[in-house]
Symmetry: C2
Subunit: 223 residues, 2 copies
């Protein structure tokens, strides 16, 4: 049974996305809702990370997920099975969400009674990095099979991320050309301040640290 | 030693990219150069696939590689070690190449004496699918760790691809939720005519079939 709404968002006509994003960020903070913008390549594990995260935190926080996709709703179905409230946003072919598109989703979704809302952005390391969505924080997932050279090739994505989850760490023994030290150094090159957490959405490794990160940020957002 | 040129391409001002792409395709065919547009997510294995392909075919064909990236030249360095002629194209933040940007690269590179030119597009499953580059054929790489649901989520990319290489098949035993049958069925849903080849750029599995595909297309292009 499909128990989530699907909406088609329109491209923003606002010239100043940064100002609009800042306004949305302040509105959400005033309402006590922590919006996290989650980005990655296709297949890095955004949805499976969310499924495990929701299972860990659903008794502590009221959680919602906004799923952005070009035009499918595969992930919304998966997430709605967790019991979290979900809305599917279709970008109509657009490769990213801007602040106004995010706001259209937020208002349709109704987030005032939620503590934590994940915005699962379109799977893409280029375009989403260029548009501030109005989220309180940016998180990105880099998966081990993608290789440890990605911070060299997609600098902006790493530069704007407050936290990087290095996912699929359970397959590190198979992908033995991936070095945790090297990827850390390369992420730091782009962004000396960002938090780096090594996780596996499959085994749960590192999720205590990730949950602690979220608890801390949600608390700070309510202050 | 850096033995390749780096050029910055400008966004096209032409209104009709499709017509421009068709013109470029005809020019290249007249010159006997087969241009293959190679697309994938970040980290799916475009560069390692090219390294192995060049090693297999370099005695049969005169090969060049045009590396498109946001702003690094990590891959151009790797490819230039194979002995193939390489040019690095910087898109200045753009998430794709259009026909005019490809032409700028082609003309700067000089491809008249080449039989086979690979255009390694920006790692992205959304934007590159929307712009015809003028290549004779489109190839895409889907890697096993990304999951077998990608044809559902990025339909256009699969729809416009003449061949899909399913890469990293050496790790199929580890990613046991990836089904070859299911991915085949989902690719066929988008594109009943496209060729599907299961490969591993690491072990070489499937590369005989891939090399045969390229030989056949290069021969057809010269007719």
């Amino acid at each position: 049974m499909k128990d989530y709404k699907v909406i088609e968002v329109k491209e923003s006509i606002l010239a100043d996305n940064d100002a609009d994003a800042e306004a949305l960020r302040q509105e959400l903070k005033a309402e006590g809702t922590f919006l996290l913008n989650l980005m990655s390549s296709p297949g890095a594990g955004k949805t499976s990370t969310l499924v495990r995260t929701i299972a860990m935190l659903k008794d502590e926080f009221r959680i919602g997920v906004m799923e952005a996709d070009i035009d499918s709703d595969v992930d919304a179905r998966t997430i709605s099975d967790t019991g979290a409230r979900v809305i599917q946003i279709h970008t109509g072919g657009m490769c990213h969400l801007d602040a106004d598109m995010t706001r259209q989703g937020i208002r349709e979704f109704g987030t005032k009674d939620l503590d934590l809302v994940f915005l699962e952005n379109v799977g893409n390391l280029v375009c989403p990095a260029e548009f501030d969505t109005g989220a309180a924080k940016n998180a990105m997932i880099l998966s081990v099979p993608e290789g440890d050279d990605k911070p060299l090739k997609y600098p902006l994505m790493f530069q704007i991320s407050d936290v990087v989850l290095v996912n699929k760490c359970d397959v590190l023994p198979v992908f033995d050309d991936f070095s945790k030290e090297r990827v850390t150094e390369r992420i730091r090159l782009r962004n000396p301040d960002c938090d780096i957490i090594f996780v596996s959405a499959k085994t749960g490794q590192g999720f205590d640290e990730w949950a602690a990160w979220l608890r801390r940020e949600i608390r700070k957002n309510k202050q």
